[in-house]
């Protein structure tokens, strides 16, 4: 994975210095820009501009009418103040943190265990490993609605299974105590394949002779894992976890489809809250919604920068 990811990060330095001076190298560079022009225009029109509009939304007092007329008054940081003072703010922050950390912890541990398991080649291992990709490929709305029905209080198969073990029924989606657990459960399921595939490719890159040496020294399976596999996998693990953070912070579909952040705000995260403010009711609060979105982007870009710095450090080693 690091190969394909880092290759574009470090394009080879221009080495073609012509004997006749600088002019011949300038032309290809101009031509190079002709090919980059579409993507540059694209990035400005469809990335930078929406982000700018979002920032503007968060600094003005927008209503449905002023959206069309375009004369929303500038109110500075009032939207942000409103968001900070909202009783939903701290629950949303803590749910986002819990959702992200718990999801990633389980996804990583389960993904790693499966990667180690599949790293022993056995009959059908490639086929079974491919089947593990299914949750990752399904549209989120498919997974989320399937989990909703499985976790239904009265007719859900999960409660049936709990009942078979003599455990009481749980109101997964309708009780404030369990709603966050329910969406985390579904999200772990969705994220396992990504962790499995990346960690598996990391394992494949560990030289076999290290394992052979450990076996010659009489190391047990656990010792080999602890002292060979884990240390050798550190860079890949870091990449998996950092990317996991960025992508789990963004998760919206699963939570919105399963619980709409509810009941109350018991499973509200920053993404679902932002959506709820902007689009969730007939009386939209675009300004505060955009403000929440802008807080979210700061966190996401922080982890994103960490990831890129880490990638660069790895690439230059």
């Amino acid at each position: 994975m690091s190969n394909t990811r880092t290759a574009p990060l470090a394009p080879r330095v221009e080495t073609q210095v012509s004997a006749r001076g600088r002019r011949p190298t300038r032309l290809p560079r101009l031509i190079g820009w002709a090919y980059l022009a579409p993507v540059a225009i694209y990035l400005i029109a469809f990335y930078a501009y929406p982000l700018y509009r979002n920032l503007e939304l968060s600094l003005r007092d927008y209503t449905v009418r002023s959206f069309v007329s375009g004369d929303a008054p500038f109110i500075g940081l009032d939207n942000f103040r409103e968001v900070f003072a909202d009783p939903t703010f701290w629950p949303a922050v803590s749910h986002t943190a819990i959702f992200t950390f718990v999801s990633i912890a389980f996804q990583y541990v389960i993904g790693l265990a499966l990667a180690v398991f599949f790293n022993h080649n056995f009959r059908l291992s490639a086929t079974l490993r491919a089947l593990f990709l299914v949750p990752w490929l399904l549209p989120m709305i498919v997974s989320a609605s399937t989990w909703s029905w499985m976790l239904n209080s009265d007719s859900g198969v999960v409660n049936t299974a709990l009942g078979a073990f003599g455990l009481p029924e749980i109101n997964w989606l309708t009780s404030p105590t369990w709603s966050l657990v329910a969406v985390i459960l579904a999200n772990i399921w969705i994220g396992i394949p990504f962790n499995l595939v990346i960690l598996y490719s990391g394992l494949q890159n560990i030289p076999d002779n290290l394992f052979e040496a450990a076996a010659l020294d009489g190391a047990s399976g656990w010792q080999t894992f602890r002292h060979v596999t884990l240390p050798m996998l550190r860079p890949v693990s870091a990449i998996t976890l950092l990317l996991g953070f960025v992508y789990t912070l963004k998760v919206f579909d699963v939570i919105w489809i399963m619980t709409r952040g509810g009941p109350g705000s018991s499973s509200t995260t920053l993404s679902t809250w932002s959506y709820e403010l902007g689009f969730g009711s007939l009386l939209p609060h675009f300004g505060p919604g955009a403000a929440v979105g802008n807080l979210l982007i700061i966190v996401a870009l922080f982890f994103g920068l960490l990831y890129i710095r880490f990638q660069n450090a790895e690439a230059s080693r």
Partner: protein, 272 residues
């Protein structure tokens, strides 16, 4: 490694896979269930009395949504390829000034949460008057795939031998000829990978659809399912049947194009 240990592992592997895929099985099971059995407690674990009424409902209600999703998916693929392949050719082979910062921007762009883009697009689309259009969704959905596309193409094209490009140059081919008759033909694999993922992400998109096309006449299948859940939440066989149909592109990818999938995932591709 003796065979009995290997067989044990295969058995464990099969059990783990079945556990992991249980929700998928359950989706199929419920999609075939009679409405009268839907609230049965405990539920039937197997489709003992299968009915296709759920799928009939799909045929009756959801075909326009499926067609729209197909159109949006294809549009997104075309736009993504058109923007990302030339850019990658430039980044990999023409070494333009500012290539490095551009790559950095593309990496960061992948990390922007969808809800933020959705709000920005909403405000723009409303002003420009393209809210609730299917091709507005093509634009929005392509933002999920363009950075990924450039990075995948660049990684691949950087590996094309310079001699090949030099030879074309000696034969008098300009950069455009080189691009269309040398670089693109050998880039078949990344073209397939990028196309598949662009299509899958556009097909699966819910956040852009629900914000930018909530009142349109041509809506994608994700909104079809979402409305189903909202309108008749007793008819879970119809909802699950729609979900099964909406999973067809994913199944296709897994069966027909599996090697491209692994290539895409390990390149850091993650849907949001």
């Amino acid at each position: 490694m003796n065979t009995s240990r290997s067989t044990t592992k295969t058995v464990i592997g099969i059990v783990l896979t079945l556990l992991m895929l249980f929700p998928v099985y359950w989706m199929l099971n419920v999609s075939l269930m009679r409405s009268s059995d839907m609230r049965r407690d405990p539920p039937y674990l197997f489709p003992l009395h299968p009915t296709f009424s759920g799928y009939e409902a799909v045929l009756h209600d959801q075909l326009p949504y499926l067609a729209t999703s197909l159109a949006i998916g294809i549009g997104t693929v075309v736009l993504t390829l058109a923007v990302s392949a030339p850019a990658a050719y430039s980044l990999a082979k023409l070494r333009p000034l500012g290539g490095k910062p551009l790559t950095f921007i593309l990496l960061m762009a992948q990390m922007i949460p969808g809800i933020i883009m959705a709000m920005g697009f909403y405000s723009i689309f409303l002003n420009v008057g393209i809210i609730n259009t299917w091709w507005g969704l093509v634009i929005a959905d392509s933002t999920l795939a363009v950075p990924f596309g450039v990075l995948i193409f660049t990684a691949f094209m950087a590996g094309i031998p310079d001699e090949l490009i030099q030879a074309a140059k000696l034969d008098g081919a300009g950069t455009w000829r080189t691009f269309t008759s040398i670089v693109l033909p050998v880039s078949r694999n990344p073209v397939v990978t990028v196309s598949l993922f662009a299509f899958l992400w556009a097909w699966s998109d819910f956040i852009f659809a629900s914000t930018l096309n909530s009142g349109g006449t041509m809506q994608p299948i994700t909104l079809g399912i979402y409305k189903y859940i909202g309108n008749n939440n007793q008819e879970w066989n119809s909802i699950m049947a729609t979900a099964v149909v909406a999973s067809v592109p994913a199944a296709f990818l897994l069966v027909v194009a599996q090697r491209y999938v692994a290539a895409g995932v390990t390149a850091g591709a993650v849907k949001d």
